[in-house]
């Protein structure tokens, strides 16, 4: 009826108009003109002109980015000129800065970048952090190596600290939350029984429902974060939750569902020509070949693939060869009980695709529904979300449910409250082990001596020996678990219940004074359970453990604000606040490394149980802070802050520390007349400092308890020397930036250069063991980071027709170099981490900080080379160093460039994001395994004829290097070249270009009737669907978990990263 009414209104006819800039009357190209209450519209042409057919007295809406939208009632005129006012506010969106305080971005003297919910959920990843990848300049995100649910690493503007974490602070609605991964207490330094491998339980921020986040603001330097205190020294990621924002009295509903299917992005290329065997083709002497005896025999231990060429006519006794009566060779116990059985050898054939067959298609579904509304007194928003993931490894999964409520209410004109509460329940029936050792299926397949090529994975589906269910594994050798047992029985499950939330009360005393009280907490209880089945390599009679983490943190603030405009030129905002931060962590561990009856996982079934380990970590920080903003004629902005912390972790005399910041920005384009091409120009500069405290309990020496010996309690001196004169460390950042927009804001550039210096960091300095201690807490060392960030936004194509083709794009570029300026006590090298095989400490990749060198350098053994750089051979085998101190490369990229695009045509939209990380190196344990084990296709040349390695050898008579002429058999050559101790042999270029996100969608508008303002979006989505990189076998984007640290630069038998593709459906009304 309404539509009919409009069409029947009297017609003014064709209206011609021109849209111009109100200031200089220049035409505005591409402005959108729409007729109110109609679907009619037009776009201005190169002269700013448009034509539209409109009835008399109707209203035109005119809008263009960077200008204030305008409405005009046309009456009966048929030509008109419409001036648009520049809108610097629109250009300078409101950003959320420290403490949840909104500011105009133009008033900021430092770089911030905002990601909205649409960008965040374009092709959503279950880990919130991954959804930021490529969207913010200066932020480097690395996906974890343990599949969905693993910890992702986010580093802003490089590493400021030796201590490995370098993670920014995560903040929800102005209150910090926990983003750490709390690891089980596990020291994996052996392959012996009872050694539980480390598990990545995922980072805290991963659990936040991205659909319930209205906006993510990334505060990059310590400048921006100065007011959050120490923990924001590496920047802050500020999440603003959804609020009800409908018209008053109405309710809005959003529903999103996505389903994606995951498959490996990349798998190692395995040869399918030769099977297990130590050396089937020696140049001289007896061949050393393989046949199955009992899984522990001489030729079947540590089985590399230097065996016989596959040939179905060759028959070999294998673990799955029939033994009569339905038994197989690997049914060792049964064969012992039935002595008459004889094994019939079976054809010698390859199964190089066994890992591919082992994997399943992953499935991720994410559903989220939000209701929001506005009342006369406030607003509310309620969101429920659910995540289910089935990993590509069978038996692994991740489940998550969340409920969130945000509401605000005005009791009176002066008194209001705002609160947010989020309950998250997450869990998994199995978080897979990664890394080196029999606990991990990746090791089973790709460790050194991984699964031989001749093993048929289908035979292993019989997990247990016939008649020995849950008692004796069915397998091909004793140092590997049956991978199905590993994933189905040897599980690491968890259930985590988390509540985070905050509540604030604001009172406006008068126009000038405001008071706010706010408190926020993050609490979780994470209950983890480990099961190990009988005859597991490390658990002959099974194992059971529970690990419980209780985490609590609270931040309580008061803030008194004052606002005054002393004259029409000046504007002053000043605030004084205080904060109390409290953190309590309690960890309880119980372990039984031997069970009585298979299949019962309970301590009542323990043969013996280790004493309970109980640890607590508590911390309190009191802070006072103040800040003031001055602006002069809305042109020049000055911002100063100061904060004083008192931390419980520092000694009494040194526990109070102050740190200030100042920033300045000026809107040049509003101050001087600039060429017409430049529509906006702002310059900014800032300097800030942030202080940091120490870990709890770093100041007093202690004696720690060891596991009792036969019931006798033991204590030993702590290897880490405490230090009761520790002082706070600090990071000082200076940055300068420019923000410029051209061609009526069609092209925008935001560039920042920065430098940060960290000094006096509290480190656990490794000291000579002969001092009686392995580490000492000291202050010292300086790290310098320098870098540049550039954001370039542009609209390469804007249609002149309504609903025409539009294309917006943006580039995020960043480059950072971190350098070690000095180290504590004048030492030259500080080994801050290493990645080792479990019991091969001398095969480590070392992460050394060396004075004058880049942070992120990795060191290890390398090929011995002649002065020309040729590899030196001896007896036909390459030589390598053993000193562990050759520079192998740096894991940091030289630069990161992301290119995101948004295209629309009528109701179609397409967006895609390319993420390019250039430079950096990584070490690959998967490559080590497949190369040293003869599994890789690269180990085929010379298999039967021998290999003469390319390089030089020392000529004894002349004492000079001559080309290597010594031929050795393939096993000797490849074992020598790909020696597990020769780190250089497994270093690869870490550069990659990924098609990170892709979304193609169609929006149905007003599906519930024209006035319903409803939208249904149906999209195809994809993540990580393409990758270009030099290494053919593994994804260089990966993290290792070692020594309770998440480390970049090492691919540590990671679960293959996945490409995921699927669809999403979004409904708003």
């Amino acid at each position: 009826l309404l539509n009919t009414a409009i069409t029947q209104a009297q017609t003014a006819g064709i209206i011609s108009g021109k849209v111009v800039d109100a200031e200089d009357q220049s035409p505005i190209i591409g402005a959108v003109v729409t007729l109110k209450n109609s679907s009619k519209g037009a776009v201005t042409d190169a002269e700013g002109n448009f034509k539209i057919n409109a009835p008399a007295n109707s209203t035109l809406n005119i809008s263009f980015i960077g200008y204030k939208s305008s409405s005009i009632v046309i009456g009966t005129q048929i030509t008109l000129t419409i001036p648009l006012q520049k809108d610097n506010k629109a250009l300078n969106e409101v950003v959320v800065t420290a403490l949840g305080i909104n500011k105009q971005s133009k008033a900021l003297g430092y770089a911030v970048q905002t990601v909205n919910t649409k960008q965040l959920t374009q092709a959503p990843d279950p880990n919130l952090i991954n959804n930021l990848g490529g969207k913010v300049a200066g932020v480097v995100i690395t996906n974890g190596g343990a599949g969905v649910g693993s910890t992702s690493r986010i580093v802003i503007r490089g590493e400021n600290s030796f201590n490995g974490s370098n993670q920014p602070l995560f903040v929800v609605d102005g209150v910090p939350i926990n983003n750490e991964t709390f690891f089980n207490n596990a020291i994996e330094n052996s392959s012996n029984q009872g050694t539980w491998a480390e598990v990545d339980w995922g980072n805290g921020a991963a659990e936040i429902n991205p659909n319930n986040i209205a906006k993510v603001t990334v505060l990059k330097g310590s400048t921006a974060a100065a007011l959050y205190g120490s923990r924001a020294a590496n920047g802050a990621v500020v999440l603003t939750t959804e609020k009800g924002n409908t018209e008053k009295g109405k309710m809005g509903v959003t529903f999103n569902t996505t389903t994606t299917f995951e498959s490996p992005l990349k798998l190692p290329h395995l040869q399918n020509e030769y099977g297990a065997g130590v050396n089937a083709y020696p140049l001289s002497g007896t061949p050393n070949t393989y046949s199955f005896v009992n899984g522990a025999g001489a030729s079947e231990n540590n089985i590399p693939n230097w065996g016989l060429k596959f040939d179905p006519s060759v028959k070999v006794t294998q673990f799955d060869s029939p033994a009569g009566d339905g038994y197989q060779a690997g049914d060792l116990v049964a064969r012992g009980i039935n002595p008459g059985l004889t094994v019939t050898p079976t054809p010698w054939v390859g199964h190089a695709d066994h890992f591919k067959q082992f994997l399943q298609t992953g499935l991720t579904t994410q559903n989220s529904i939000g209701f929001g509304g506005t009342t006369d007194k406030g607003s509310y928003h309620f969101a429920v979300d659910q995540l289910y993931n089935k990993g590509i490894l069978p038996g692994t999964d991740l489940k998550r449910y969340g409920i969130a409520l945000r509401a605000d209410h005005h009791f009176t004109d002066k008194l209001s409250t705002d609160f947010f509460i989020n309950y998250i329940n997450s869990g998994s029936s199995n978080r897979p082990n990664i890394g080196y050792g029999s606990e991990s299926v990746m090791y089973t397949f790709f460790g050194v001596y991984g699964m031989p090529i001749n093993i048929d994975i289908n035979s292993l589906k019989k997990e247990w020996q016939t008649g020995r269910d849950q008692q004796n594994q069915f397998r091909y050798w004793n140092n590997h678990d049956n991978p199905y047992v590993t994933l189905n029985d040897n599980t690491n499950s968890f259930t985590k219940n988390r509540i985070l939330g905050n509540a604030s009360l604001k009172y406006a005393i008068n126009d000038q004074w405001n008071v706010m009280l706010r408190t926020g907490s993050d609490f979780y209880a994470d209950n983890r359970e480990g099961h190990r089945a009988f005859t597991s390599v490390r658990f002959p009679t099974g194992g059971f453990r529970t690990d419980n983490v209780n985490y609590f943190e609270n931040n309580t603030d008061f803030l008194v604000s004052y606002h005054k405009k002393p004259s029409h030129l000046f504007n002053v905002n000043a605030s004084l606040g205080g904060n109390r931060f409290m953190q309590n962590i309690a960890y309880t561990r119980n372990i039984a490394n031997a069970l009585i009856t298979p299949g019962l996982y309970n301590f009542s079934n323990a043969q013996n149980q280790l004493p309970t380990l109980y640890q607590k970590f508590d911390k309190v920080v009191y802070s006072l802070y103040a800040f003031a903003d001055f602006d002069f004629k809305n042109l020049v902005f000055l911002n100063v802050t100061g904060r004083n912390d008192r931390s419980s972790t520092l000694p009494a005399g040194n526990n109070s520390y102050f740190y200030p910041s100042a920033s300045l920005s000026a809107i040049i384009s509003d101050m001087v007349h600039l060429p017409q091409a430049i529509s906006f120009l702002k310059v900014r500069a800032s300097a800030a400092q942030v202080g940091r405290d120490a870990d709890p309990y770093s100041i007093n020496n202690t004696f720690i308890t060891n596991t009792p010996f036969n019931g006798t309690p033991l204590t030993t001196g702590n290897n880490v020397l405490a230090n009761n004169s520790l002082k706070p460390s600090s990071t000082t950042t200076t940055e300068a930036g420019i923000e410029v927009r051209f061609l009526k804001n069609r092209v925008g550039l935001d560039a920042t250069i920065y430098q940060s210096n960290t000094k006096d960091e509290v480190v656990q300095l490794p000291i000579a063991v002969s001092s009686g201690y392995t580490n000492a807490y000291v202050n010292g060392g300086k790290i310098n980071n320098k870098g540049v960030e550039i954001m370039l936004t542009g609209t390469p194509f804007r249609s002149h027709a309504a609903n025409g083709f539009n294309w917006d794009m943006s580039f995020n570029f960043s480059h950072n170099v971190g350098k070690v300026v000095s180290l504590p006590d004048g030492i030259n090298t500080y080994v801050y981490a290493q990645v080792t095989q479990y019991d091969r400490y001398y095969r480590a990749i070392q992460y050394d900080a060396k004075v004058g060198q880049r942070l992120g350098n990795m060191y290890g053994n390398a090929f011995v080379r002649d002065p020309q750089g040729n590899i030196v051979y001896k007896n036909g085998v390459p030589q390598f160093t053993s000193t562990q101190n050759s520079l192998l490369g740096n894991y940091n990229p030289d630069f990161v460039l992301a290119w995101s695009n948004e295209l629309s045509y009528k109701n179609f939209t397409m967006s895609f994001l390319w993420d390019w990380h250039q430079g950096g190196k990584f070490f690959s344990y998967t490559e080590l395994g497949v190369l040293a084990g003869g599994m890789s296709v690269e180990t085929l040349p010379g298999r039967e004829t021998g290999v003469i390695g390319q390089g030089v050898m020392m000529d004894a008579s002349s004492g000079k290097y001559v080309p290597n002429t010594v031929k050795v058999d393939a096993a000797t050559y490849y074992n020598g070249y790909y020696n597990a101790s020769n780190n250089e042999a497994f270093m690869y270029d870490a550069s990659y270009l990924k098609l990170r996100e892709l979304r193609i969608g169609y929006t149905f508008k007003n599906i519930f009737g024209k006035s319903s303002n409803s939208k249904l979006n149906v999209s195809l989505i994809g993540r990580n669907i393409l990758e270009f990189t030099k290494n053919k076998d593994v994804d260089p984007e990966t993290l290792a978990l070692r020594g309770q640290q998440i480390l970049p630069g090492t691919e540590f038998l990671s679960i293959p990263s996945t490409k995921s593709m699927g669809f999403s459906l979004g409904l708003n009304f």
Binding site: S191, N192, Q193, V278, T286, N288, T289, A296, G297, A298, S299, N301, N302, V448, N478, N479, V537, N593, N608, K616, D618, K619, V620, Y622, S647, S648, P696, Y697, I699, N700, T702, F703, I704, N706, F709, N710, T712, P713, L714, T715, T716, G717, N718, N719, L721, P766, A768, V769, S770, S771, G772, Y773, T774, D825, N828, T829, V831, D848, T883, Q884
Partner: protein, 476 residues
């Protein structure tokens, strides 16, 4: 709030003051357990009792230059705790605890200097006073320094107990405060280290004094051994290693040859199992056992004829085999045999013979073999002591000492370095140390990176480059 801050930062997970009882237990356990732990994977290889059949594991049996850092660290930790204990014992005025602390500290330093050579010593263990990078001292200082040296410390320990023959020391998991046993243990160690330096220092008088005092082990029940639990984390490693790792360890051919030459049926069957070619239930025959020479990767034939360790090592069925040993009665007797042979102590040849026979009997007793079998072994060809020349007697004494020290740290290798007995195979091309038997481990890499200046100074003595064949003092 100051009070609250202090309270919050009080460590709830650990003691802030040392506790003598638990610290003592821990120091004993650390030293004994680590000795047993290292012997199974590295020591038996260096001592040529064991060979790995696969190059993946070969470092110990092929003498790849290694740092052995996992042993360096617990020895310094033990020395540190012993030092803390010594100070505590002085405050408590407990002579037994003082003696134990001195002994435990000396043993840790002895292990360090005998495996690495010159080591940080006089400045060591002072991290808590800010000495993070202690300088190196000569091996001679480590043994002989009047204040802290191994030998003077052990001497002081013994005299403390001699003067205070009774005492109580809680947490003594080794001898339950039995000062007699402690004195015997201390003096056995004194004899070991005195003999080690006998080529450099006149040790005769002190050795004779010890013998005259008579505070020595009388039989294997007084041996410095610690029964380990059968469950992690303090079990003998063989009980909990992966079966695949157990299966690649074979009897070394050097050991096989010695056992076979003297027809040592008892010990070969106790320590090892028949080879893969032997049918089940076959009667005993030395041909059913075999040793593996130093190889890169054993051929199938080599693996099949060589013996793995006795399955009791994996099952724990023979408790005598899976103890942690620091010094046994047998070794004490062999030391005395050599001392008598060389005239450091009185008694000459007849004493030598008595001590030698005691040593052999003690060695059998030590691993639970009965005296009759041992007595029978004493008359096997090649076993009765041939006193006709010092060298032939030395060869027998040291070889029997070597057999007695299976599964005891690196004693076999250290004594080989001192005496050349028994003849070790060098392994030709399979040897990863340029065809030589090393005389030391490399310093941990952390010494280069962390203690670089002092490390460099030490390496100067080796000719500017760290080598595994450098001889520190008594070996020269």
């Amino acid at each position: 709030c100051s009070k609250e801050l202090k309270q919050v930062n009080t460590n709830p997970n650990a003691l802030e003051k040392p506790d003598a009882t638990t610290l003592l237990s821990n120091t004993i356990v650390t030293e004994f357990y680590n000795n047993a732990n290292i012997v199974w994977t590295l020591g038996n290889g260096y001592n040529q009792y064991m060979t790995f059949s696969q190059s993946y594991y070969d470092q110990p049996t092929r003498y790849s230059p290694v740092t052995n850092e996992p042993y360096w660290i617990p020895m310094y930790e033990a020395a540190r705790d012993a030092n803390t204990l010594y100070t505590l014992a002085q405050t408590k005025n407990n002579p037994l605890l003082q003696a134990a602390a001195l002994t435990l500290r000396s043993y840790a330093f002895a292990q360090l200097t005998e495996l690495w050579g010159d080591i940080p010593f006089l400045q060591a263990l002072k991290g808590n006073t800010g000495v993070y990078t202690p300088s190196y001292d000569s091996q001679q200082t480590v043994y002989m320094d009047a204040g802290q040296g191994i030998i003077p410390s052990l001497r002081r320990a013994d005299s403390l107990l001699k003067a205070n023959p009774s005492g109580l020391m809680e947490g003594d998991v080794l001898y339950s405060s039995n000062t007699g046993n402690w004195r015997a243990f201390i003096n056995a160690l004194r004899l070991r280290y005195l003999l080690r330096v006998a080529g450099k220092v006149n040790v005769a008088a002190e050795m004779q004094n010890i013998v005259n005092d008579g505070a020595l082990m009388q039989n294997s029940s007084q041996s410095g051994t610690l029964a380990l639990p059968t469950v992690t984390p303090y079990n003998f490693v063989s009980l909990t290693e992966r079966s695949g790792d157990f299966a690649v360890k074979y009897m070394n051919s050097t050991l096989y040859n010695q056992l076979q030459t003297t027809q040592d049926t008892a010990r070969i069957t106790t320590y090892f199992t028949t080879n893969a070619t032997t049918p089940a239930g076959a009667p005993f025959n030395f041909n059913n056992y075999g040793g593996m020479p130093m190889v890169v990767d054993a051929t199938e034939a080599q693996s099949k004829q060589a013996s793995n360790f006795n399955p009791s090592f994996a099952k724990g069925t023979n408790p005598a085999l899976i103890k942690a040993r620091v010094i046994a009665y047998a070794e004490q007797e062999f030391i005395l045999a050599e001392a008598a042979l060389k005239g450091y102590i009185s008694g000459s040849n007849s004493a030598t013979l008595t001590y030698y026979n005691n040593g052999v009997m003690g060695a059998f007793a030590e691993i639970g073999i009965n005296a009759a079998t041992a007595a029978n072994y004493l008359v096997h060809t090649g076993v009765p002591l041939d006193n006709s020349s010092q060298s032939s007697a030395m060869q027998q004494i040291i070889t029997q000492k070597w057999l007695a020290n299976i599964n005891n740290g690196f004693e076999g290798w250290i004594e080989f370095r001192r005496t050349g007995y028994p003849a070790f195979q060098t392994g030709d091309a399979a040897n990863m140390n340029n065809g030589m038997i090393p005389t030391r481990f490399l310093y941990p890499t952390s010494e280069q990176t962390i203690n670089g200046k002092n490390y460099a100074a030490e390496v100067q003595q080796m000719g500017g480059k760290e080598i595994t064949t450098y001889k520190a003092w008594w070996e020269k």
